[in-house]
Symmetry: C2
Subunit: 433 residues, 2 copies
C-alpha cells in the first residue's frame, strides 16, 4: 500500500497544496488524515504522506512537519491514535521535523478541547486492563520502569539522581540547583528539626533521604521496591559516611512500621493506585506521631482522566495521577488536616526540559545501551511530558498535612521564605556535591 | 420536678462526692447525667444538679462547673444534646462557671471520639429539613444572620467590620492588624495589579473591596444580598472618597455578569450549599479572564459532617462548611487549576477570641439592644466556634486557583513573603484607619 497514488479528483497536483481548493491534497488518505487532525483540534502541523502528498496546517504557521511512512501507519493512527502515534514514532514510521515539543502541545490542547477524542478514550479505557497495584503487581510495574539501569538514568537526571519535579527558585536555575532547592523546600515544609526520625515512602535513588540526614540532622528510614535504586542509594549513603543515619529498606511502603516525626513521599503516589489511598492514609495514621507533619508530592490532574495509554504500555505501567479530589481519599478517612497545597506544574515542564536536553546529549550512548527504537521512545515520553505540564494536562501537587488534632502546626508559611538561620550543614560529611 | 430529691441508695450524702463509691451521686438523674457525659467522652466538668447533687469530673481536674436548673432540662439534654444544650444555656437553665471555652473544647473532643454521638447526629440530620439555598432561601438565610443590625456587629468586630477569619502575622497581633494583614494576604495571593477589575462575591460590610481599591489600585464590583451590609459598605466607600472605584451591588452572586481579572470570595462559600458548587464553578468560569486568578476563603472540614444543629437553628441557617474534597466540585467541573491551599484554622480561633473579648465588654449594650437570652446565645456561639477551630472540628481554607490553561501563574510564592515594594497606598483617600 505504500505505493498508493493519491486521487486527483479536481486535477490539481497533490504536491502543490497552495493551489486551488485550499491547496490541500484531496486523496482518500489526505481526507482521512484531515479528519483525524480535525478530531485533534486542527493542530498547526504540516503532514507529508509516504507518496509526497502534503497536508498543510490550516493557519499556515506550522510548528512542525510530520512525515508518515506508509498507509498502514495512517490507518493504525485512525483506529487508536494514543497508542499508535507512540508506536509509529518509536519505530521511525513517523518522523517529526521542527519543534516537536510544541507540536505535542498542539495535540494535547486540541485533544483536550475535542469531545470525540475524549469519548473514544473513555471507551478504550474501559476495555483496557491494567496490572493492579497489588504487592506483586507494584513490584512488576516498578521493575519495568526503574530497574532498566542506573547508568541510563545517570545520563540525564543530573548529579542528584532525583527523578521528580524540581523547584526552580527562578526559571534560570540549573537542574542541580533546582533539585537541591526542591529537597530544601520539602524539608522546610516538614519543619524538620535535628534528632527527628523521618520515614520516606518511595525513595528513588535516595537523594532526599541523604539530603535530610546531611543538612537537617534527622534520621531517615526510606522504603523502595526497586532493587537497583536501593543498591545505588546504599552505596551513596556509605560514600557520604552517613550510612548510620539513613536506612534504605527494600520493601513495599505497605510494610512500613514504627512511629515517626515526619512522613514524606515524593513521586510515589502516582504509582500507588487511587483505590489504595484509604489504606495508605491508614498506614500514615498508624506511623505518624500525633504532632507530626507529612508531605506528599505527586503528579496530579485538574480533573481525573486515564493515563495516556502509550505511556502506560511502554514507559510507566500502572501510573495514575489523581485529581486533588481523589487525593483527598488519602486524608479524609483518618481526618488528616490538609495544611498547605502548592502546585508546581510549570516547574515540572522546566525539569523535563533540562532532562531532555541532557538526554539528547547522551542519545548515542543510549542507542549503544539499548537501540534506536528505545532512544525515540524515551524522547517522545520526555517531550510529551513537557507538553502535558505546559498545557495543564498534568499538575504537580505538594501537599502538607498533619493529624487532625495537632495544634503544633506551623503558624504561617513565612519561615519557608526566609533565609535559613544556619547555612552550615547540620552533619559534616565526606560527600561532595 | 425541680424539687426532686436525690436517691441515697448507699446512704452517702449527695453533696459530698469525694466520699465512698467514687464520690458521685447515685440518684437516677445523676446516673442519667453520667451516661450522657460518658457518651461525650467523659469531659473534665463537674455538674451540679438542681437539688445540689454534684457529679464530679472523673479525673478531678475539672475545667468548669455546669449547673443544671431542673430535671426537664436534663431530660431534654438526653433526647437531643446538640440543640438542647444551646437552648438551655440561652435560657439560663444551664449555667457555666469556670473556663467555658475549654469546657466546650472538652465536649467537642469527646463527641468527636464517640461513636454513639456521631451515629445519633447522622440520624437526626436526616430528619432535619433545611431551608435550601435557592435565590429566595439564601436571601432569608442571610437576612437572619447579617441583618440583625450593623450596630450590633460594630460592637465586637473591630474597626474593619470584617466578619471572617483574620491572618495573624504573629499570635500577638491585634484584631485590626490581623484583619488588615488578611486583606493584604488575599490581595497578594491574587497578585493584584493597578488597573485590574476584581469581582467579589459576598462582600460583607465592604472592607476587602475598599482595601483593594485603596491599596492595590484596582476597581472592584462587589456583590452581597444583605441589604444592611450593602448600605453600610456604600456609605463607607463614599466617606473614603472612592465611591467611583468600588461598586457595591445588592444582588445574589448567581447574577454576576461581566469579565474580570480576579474573582474573590471571602466567607461566602459556607453559605452557598455544596449542591451549588458546580454552578458556582461555571459562573466563575464565565466571568474570569483566561489569565485571571481566583481566591476562595471558606470555613471547611477535614471530613464533612452536618453543621451543629443549634448553630443552624439559632445563628447561621443554611451554613454548611465543606471538606476540601467537596470544595473540589467547584474547581473540577471547569478544570480550574488549584494553585495554592492554605489552612488558617488556628487563626480563626485567635480571631474569635478577640471578637469574644470585645463582645463581653459590650454585653450590657447587647442586652439593651436585645435581651439576656440573646447575650447568652451569641456568647455560646462565639465560644463554641473557638472550640471548634481549636479542636480541629473546623478548618479555614484559602484556595487560589486559575483557569487550567493559564500559564501566567505565579512562579513561586516567594513574593507573598517579601516586603511590599511600595509602602505608599496606591490611591490616596480621605479615610482614616
Amino acid at each position: 500500500m505504500s505505493g498508493h497514488e493519491p486521487r486527483r479528483a479536481d486535477g490539481e497536483p497533490p504536491n502543490d497544496p497552495h493551489g486551488a481548493g485550499s491547496g490541500q491534497g484531496r486523496s482518500v488518505p489526505a481526507r482521512i488524515l484531515r479528519s483525524l487532525l480535525h478530531a485533534f483540534g486542527d493542530p498547526r502541523v504540516d503532514v507529508v504522506l509516504w507518496n509526497g502528498e502534503r497536508i498543510l496546517s490550516p493557519d499556515k504557521t506550522p510548528v512542525a512537519t510530520l512525515r508518515i511512512a506508509d498507509s498502514r501507519t495512517l490507518l493504525r493512527l485512525c483506529t487508536d491514535p494514543d497508542i499508535q502515534f507512540g508506536e509509529a514514532y518509536s519505530d521511525g514510521r513517523i518522523q517529526v521535523d521542527g519543534d516537536f515539543e510544541q507540536m505535542l502541545e498542539e495535540f494535547y490542547r486540541g485533544a483536550d478541547a475535542s469531545g470525540s477524542v475524549a469519548m473514544a478514550r473513555r471507551v478504550v479505557h474501559r476495555l483496557h486492563r491494567k496490572r493492579a497495584n497489588t504487592l506483586q503487581g507494584s513490584r512488576a510495574n516498578i521493575h519495568h520502569h526503574y530497574d532498566i539501569g542506573n547508568e541510563f538514568y545517570s545520563l540525564w537526571l543530573g548529579s542528584t539522581m532525583a527523578y521528580t519535579c524540581a523547584y526552580y527558585p527562578t526559571p534560570q536555575a540549573s537542574l542541580d540547583e533546582a533539585q537541591l532547592a526542591k529537597m530544601d523546600h520539602v524539608c522546610r515544609k516538614l519543619r524538620l528539626q535535628p534528632g527527628q526520625h523521618v520515614v520516606e515512602a518511595g525513595c528513588g535513588w535516595g537523594a532526599l533521604a541523604l539530603h535530610m540526614a546531611q543538612h537537617y540532622g534527622v534520621r531517615v528510614t526510606a522504603f523502595n521496591i526497586s532493587r537497583e535504586q536501593i543498591a545505588y542509594a546504599r552505596r551513596r549513603a556509605q560514600a557520604a559516611g552517613i550510612g548510620d543515619r539513613v536506612r534504605y529498606v527494600e520493601e513495599d511502603y505497605r510494610n512500613i512500621e514504627g512511629s515517626y516525626d515526619a512522613f514524606v513521599s515524593v513521586g510515589m503516589l502516582e504509582h500507588v493506585g487511587i483505590e489504595n489511598y484509604p489504606a495508605l492514609g491508614e498506614l500514615i495514621n498508624r506511623c505518624l506521631k500525633p504532632d507530626g507533619l507529612g508531605l506528599i508530592h505527586s503528579i496530579g490532574r485538574n480533573r481525573w482522566k486515564p493515563m495516556n495509554r502509550w505511556i502506560d504500555r511502554r514507559i510507566f505501567p500502572g501510573a495514575n495521577p489523581p485529581s486533588l479530589k481523589q487525593m483527598m481519599d488519602l486524608f479524609e478517612g483518618c481526618r488528616f488536616s490538609v495544611l498547605d497545597v502548592e502546585n508546581l506544574r510549570l516547574h515540572y515542564a522546566c525539569t523535563l526540559r533540562h532532562w531532555h536536553a541532557l538526554y539528547e546529549q547522551s542519545k548515542d550512548r543510549v542507542a549503544q545501551m539499548f537501540d534506536e527504537r528505545f532512544v525515540r521512545m524515551w524522547r517522545l515520553y520526555l517531550l510529551g511530558s513537557i507538553a502535558a505540564f505546559t498545557t495543564g494536562e498534568m499538575q504537580l501537587f505538594q501537599v502538607v498535612f498533619s493529624p487532625g488534632r495537632n495544634n503544633q502546626i506551623p503558624w504561617t508559611r513565612d519561615d519557608l521564605y526566609q533565609p535559613r538561620s544556619s547555612a552550615v550543614p547540620v552533619v559534616e560529611t565526606r560527600e561532595e556535591r
